[in-house]
């Protein structure tokens, strides 16, 4: 059973994050009601013509760039003709002869070994509308009709479910950071179809497609289950036929949808309603320059600034968090402390209250001040916790907040007085300490903290205590 080689190819459809649809001025975004983001063009009304949303070109070029594709400078579209109720014009405008990007790759890290997964092509196309089956009838929601998509087709370079998952995670990260798509697989803005075949020889086996798998981890499961199913069939002398299956999440199996018809003929031909667009090298370069900082570069910077691997991974997984942290890259603050705050107490507050930090009173200058106070040991993390809610919810400056919480910054002289006082009143313990019981030192620190309500810097307390006790 182990001498079978699995081959996987993946087709990903990603919705592009644009304001309007690809060929009309209708809104591309979430709608509460069906058929509200719709106009005559989306409905395929007679006489209507497509326009071309430049945002789509920009995002698609970004995608082609981050996936290391060759970018086709002569951009054009083709019609793919077929009849289906969710296809308003009876054809889909797509790219067949001149995909925007060809021959690229995505590099993944398989247990420390780098592997390039080849990208056959990236092409731009329009989404269909959504069929909703209800009480024995089918309803159509055209909000999705004309939403811009890119389809990313790999070469058959993936040889395990693990590689497939790594590829999809990396692809998602690349598209997310290049601001191409929000890649929310659960909401359908990223959809995966996988082609799985197994073979004992160097020839590829029969290709079986599994459509619309609902999460990246399920892609891995589906590939494993499908591989197992195919091998079992072959071992029992069955012949496989090309077919389309779907993944059943309830029992982790794949289920037959339809057997592929031979000679499915989409009658592709050039879309005459959209002229050829010549993308000059300058135009393409300008778009590439506008790509936000990618995750790989962010990782490098975070590593340089001393952030731990665990924290780096957590930050990169959250694009918004990483963007926020990046605002402080050139502010000369300690990024380790900053990332600890962001992933810890601040994240708790933000998640609990479901707010955007920029909508709160915790502005950038406060954040910088807090990080610096912590960095210099002028306040403790305990104090930070104490004033956290007020940082988010009031406009008071940090000095005022500390005062309000009875935490005034204690001068070294005052601290010295307090420490002397404690030593004077605890001569028994001083004696015991001097006789070699070092645990008593901690007792003194505790007393000082209690007296100062935690407002003193532990480092300075230690220093003064040691001086005073050694007198």
């Amino acid at each position: 059973m182990n001498d079978y080689k699995t081959t996987v190819g993946i087709e990903v459809h990603a919705e592009l994050k644009t304001n309007t649809k690809i060929f009309s001025s209708s809104c591309n975004g979430y709608a509460n009601m069906a058929n509200t983001h719709v106009n005559v063009v989306d409905l395929g009304y007679p006489g209507t013509l497509p326009t071309l949303n430049e945002e789509v070109i920009v995002k698609a070029i970004r995608a082609a760039y981050v996936l290391n594709c060759h970018i086709n400078e002569l951009m054009h579209f083709d019609r793919k003709n077929y009849f289906y109720p969710d296809l308003p014009k009876g054809y889909q405008i797509t790219q067949s002869r001149t995909p925007i990007g060809v021959d690229g790759y995505v590099e993944i890290d398989v247990d420390g070994v780098k592997k390039k997964i080849g990208i056959h092509d990236i092409h731009i196309e329009e989404d269909t509308c959504k069929s909703i089956h209800y009480n024995n009838s089918s309803l159509l929601d055209f909000n999705r009709a004309g939403v811009p998509l890119i389809e990313i087709v790999t070469k058959p370079d993936i040889s395990s479910s693990k590689e497939a998952v790594l590829y999809l995670e990396k692809l998602r990260e690349l598209l997310l950071y290049a601001d191409v798509s929000d890649c929310k697989i659960e909401e359908g803005s990223m959809r995966c179809d996988v082609n799985v075949s197994v073979s004992k020889t160097s020839n590829l086996g029969t290709k079986i497609e599994i459509k619309n798998i609902g999460s990246i981890s399920n892609v891995g499961l589906a590939i494993d289950m499908e591989t197992k199913r195919q091998i079992e069939l072959l071992e029992n002398d069955n012949i496989l036929h090309e077919e389309t299956r779907r993944f059943n999440e309830k029992n982790n199996t794949t289920v037959l949808m339809r057997v592929k018809e031979t000679g499915n003929d989409y009658r592709y031909f050039p879309e005459a309603d959209i002229p050829f667009v010549k993308l000059t090298p300058e135009y393409i370069n300008n778009i590439i320059k506008g790509i936000p900082m990618l995750s790989s570069q962010r990782r490098e910077i975070y590593l340089e600034r001393g952030i731990s691997d665990i924290n780096i991974n957590k930050i990169i997984q959250n694009r918004e968090l990483s963007d926020y942290l990046n605002r402080y890259l050139d502010k000369g603050i300690n990024l380790v402390i900053a990332s600890n705050l962001l992933l810890g107490d601040m994240a708790n507050y933000i998640n609990k209250n479901n707010v955007n930090i920029d909508d709160t009173c915790f502005n950038e200058s406060k954040f910088i001040e807090i990080v610096n106070l912590l960095d210099k040991g002028e306040i403790s993390s305990k104090i930070f916790k104490e004033i956290l809610v007020d940082l988010f919810e009031t406009n008071n400056d940090i000095k005022t907040l500390l005062e309000q919480h009875g935490i005034s910054k204690i001068s070294d002289n005052d601290l010295k007085k307090i420490i002397k006082n404690i030593i004077d009143n605890n001569q028994d313990n001083v004696l015991e300490y001097k006789n070699g019981n070092e645990r008593i030192f901690k007792y003194f620190v505790g007393q000082v903290m209690k007296e100062t309500k935690g407002s003193a810097d532990p480092v300075i307390i230690n220093k003064i205590l040691q001086e005073e006790l050694s007198k």
Binding site: G44, Y45, P46, G47, N81, R267
Partner: protein
Amino acid sequence: MSKYLDLSINEINNLLKSKEIKPIDLVTEAFERIENNADLNAFITLDKEGALEKAKELENKEVDNLLFGMPIAIKDNIMTKDLRTTCASHMLDNFIPIYNATVVEKVLDKNMIIIGKCNMDEFAMGSTSRTSYFGTPHNPWDKTKIAGGSSGGSASCVAARLVPLALGSDTGGSIRQPSSYCGIVGMKPTYGRVSRYGLVAFASSLDQIGPMTRNVYDNALLLNAISGHDNNDLTSSYNEVEDYTRLIGKDIRGMKVAVPYFFMSDIVDKEIKNNVDDIIKLLQDNGAIVEYIDIDYIENAVTLYQIIAMGEASSNLARFDGVRYGYSCDNPKNVDDLYKRTRQEGFGDEVKRRIMVGSYLLSGKNATTYYNKALQIRDDMRKSFKKAFEKYDLIIGPNTTTVAYNINDNLDNPSQTFLDDILVIPVNMAGLPGMNVPIGFNKDHLPIGLQIIGNSFEEAKMYQLAAFIEKKLNLDLMPKGVK
């Protein structure tokens, strides 16, 4: 009965300005004429109520341009908001558009008054207007003859002077050929000159809307009104709109004119050739230089047209599926049944024939063998035309090989009717502007027309030559049988 609609556009404009007449007088007269000549079957839908209302509305407006208050008829494949637009098909026989085509907006901006929607071949597929679901329009010069097609209704109603102006569309001669058969002036502008937004697509890379009028000047005025870039049509040109009347009346001395040999070959009726020869002589006598030339692949234009136009049509007409609008069959058993019966019952024979041939031509390897090959040859033909225009100002020849024929001729030979368009199709293939100007009559007093072909965006020069010929010939273009 008043005869205001026989006056020139300038005369009508002066009467409107001096308040001697009101727009409603023009509308009333147009409807009298239409009702008296209903047997021409030039219209599918009339909008008397809307037109009268619009005319009243205009009474309070300043007469701000020459087309103000002028009645106009619109071919029924151009979207008119709230006014039924059928494409002469059962598929859309109850279709009320919810938006206006860009040209309709432009016509309304000029305060013209839309009278109704003109009869045509179903989905503009034909050259006789006989494929209309609403019966065939007749030729006002002889009602036993066809008006041509596909813009047959537009040609018929202008020729009979029911309305002074109409819009047609031309994919493979559909403005020029009926204009020639009916003795009117018709212009197919440069591809991209006029927005196609709101024109029901037949062959996207060939379709173009254009003016059909009584005379050259009216035609240029109407082209002024409907031209220009449109953000809703990516194939519309950014080329500046010039005043297309500006060369009218200018001398043609020194003008270089070419005649393709193919246009004067044996395929053309002798009487027509003689008429064109007379024009060539007239031009030479007035200082123009006329020479014969060859245009590459011009004789293959019909074949190329059939491949390209039918291929594109098969895709463009896929949207008529009974799901969202238009005809939908009764009690479909399932989705396949809905598609099959809706399209089987909703489309006429010629449309179905072209969809089938077009689908075949784009299937599998055929797309490369036929469609892509046709695009290449088309490009070569375009280059050959461009080369000719390096040396010549204009190209002329006949528009048609015969004059208008009997309504029942060639009925059972669908491929024969394509040959009606053998001389007009090359212009669409090359994306060039082409027009018809009447130059005489045959022995049965049926109109003969001259085709003038210009370089891209040189419509003004075409009007210059057409106006010169029109003035020199001074033909009586009022059909006698009209009531």
